[in-house]
Amino acid sequence: MKRLRIGFLPLLDASILIAAHERGFAEANDIALKLVREISWANVRDRISVGQFDAAHILAPLPIAQNLGLSPLNVPLIVPFALGLGGNAITMSLAVAGEMSRHADVARGDPRAAGSALHGVIKARRVSGAAPLTLAVVHDYSGHAYELRYWLAANGVMPNRDVALTIVPPTMMSDALASGAIDGYCVGEPWNSEAVSQGHGVIVTTKASIWRSSPEKVLGVRKTWAEQNAETLAKLLGALHQSAVWCSSPAHRDELASILARPEYLGIGEDIILRGLSGTVMTKPQDDFLLFTERAANFPWQSHALWFYSQIVRWKQAAHTEAHVRAAAATYRPDLYRQALGPLGVALPGASSKVEGALAGTTYMPASGGSIALGPDGFFDGISFDPAELSGYLALLAKNDALHNDRAE
């Protein structure tokens, strides 16, 4: 039985990997997993790049950035499987949330209301000469960074001008908020609910509200490893698929929470973990706060890779070139997903890309091996992303950003 070393950070979206090991799905697929908890995304990236990890729980934009030459290492990485949709939230300090509630009812979690309230707070602070707010994410090349920036910009707050952005590890977010080092943050669960339960912060909106059915962590592997270990990779994807189905069942929620709570995994109370698993991080429950397998959550859509690429270009981290577009799209490998899971009877989407934000409700798409329910999806500002019109999308965002940049506050 082949033994795989897999790196992860303590987050709810590592569930599929953890349950694959703990619930025997790995063993049933003739592989053994050695899960290694890491403390930084840079460590995960380096250890997978040099071969100390065979695979890893990784931020979706990180392998894309590495393949675009933005990382200190130049080892090609690929993404054959996504580890879920959603799972993040935006938390503000009690002080900022209090100021926000003077502008709008932030308890509803509506990204438009919360965003315009934050815009109001930032304007008022500027007038009074107060220092700009400091907001933290876990990494520059992360879904958190891009959804936070997207939310801010769509509400007229220019992230590079109106706030100070910094980096804090997920497990330290609540402490950083309590100490006053930061005023708010975007992170995966359970690290928002931790701050709420400790009385340090208020969740003002969620990733699933900013972009419904949006991608988050993925499985990252070295390209050469995938080529040399095709059979093992297929076994791993089989195990992860079965684990994802198990994780997504509400009947298994309590058991999953008790596994995740253990010190070697997340090391935090089950009650805090259950908030994210059940979509009750805010007063108003959200049934698609975190999806492990529904809506083709594990399929590596190339449109997801290209949306992250669009934001890398938008925030001037890389130039928009044909070669970059190809490198970003090729990071995601739906072909490997199909090869591994087709023989197991898993329904496979016919397309590798879709328009993000096109589905107002649940839509059944024909697929080999049955049909797949997709959607609802979409961005809260109503702008959809068609990967076939990438340049037009970038031009639209640039025009909107320029309008906000020029506007005298």
Partner: protein
Amino acid sequence: VDARLSILIIDGNRDRAGLIETSLREAGHTRVTVVEEVRGLLKRIEDLAPDVIVIDLGNADRDLLEHMFLISRTVRRPIAMFVDKSDEQAMYQAVEAGVSAYVVDGLKKDRVKSVLDLAVIRFKAFEKLRTERDDATQALAERKEIDRAKGIVMKMRNFGEDEAYRLLRQTAMNQKKTIAEIARAIIASSDIMLEP
């Protein structure tokens, strides 16, 4: 050795950082700076303009450090110390030793290689030292536990010292456990039985 190289060591472990700094200075480097934390380091990095930055992988703020490279106007985008195919083994060794390094100007790569080699050697030596010290401490603790358990058995069963030890050893063999594990079980149960 290129004495003009500016070297920044970020290590939360003061003892280890001291070892590295000393050996770099012994090797002829004069511009060596050691800091413990990444937080608040941006200005310092820009002032020092380091050619090479060494950081331990146990530092949870590596992502913040890379963010500083990204937003700094003066520090040129650093690359990992070993980026060539031929360097893969060296990179693996460095990561395994728990150290990572960035070269701020790729052209100077050859000149800074010795710096990282030295850091890797020091990291490994420190780890070995620590493991040996831990092993010794553990052995001492186990010895004390075994002696204590032996005393309990001698008292309760009215055994001599050798006889008590033989019983511990036989029980450990029968139960496929170490003598120390059996000793701990005896101490734990006697704590319950003998407390007033």
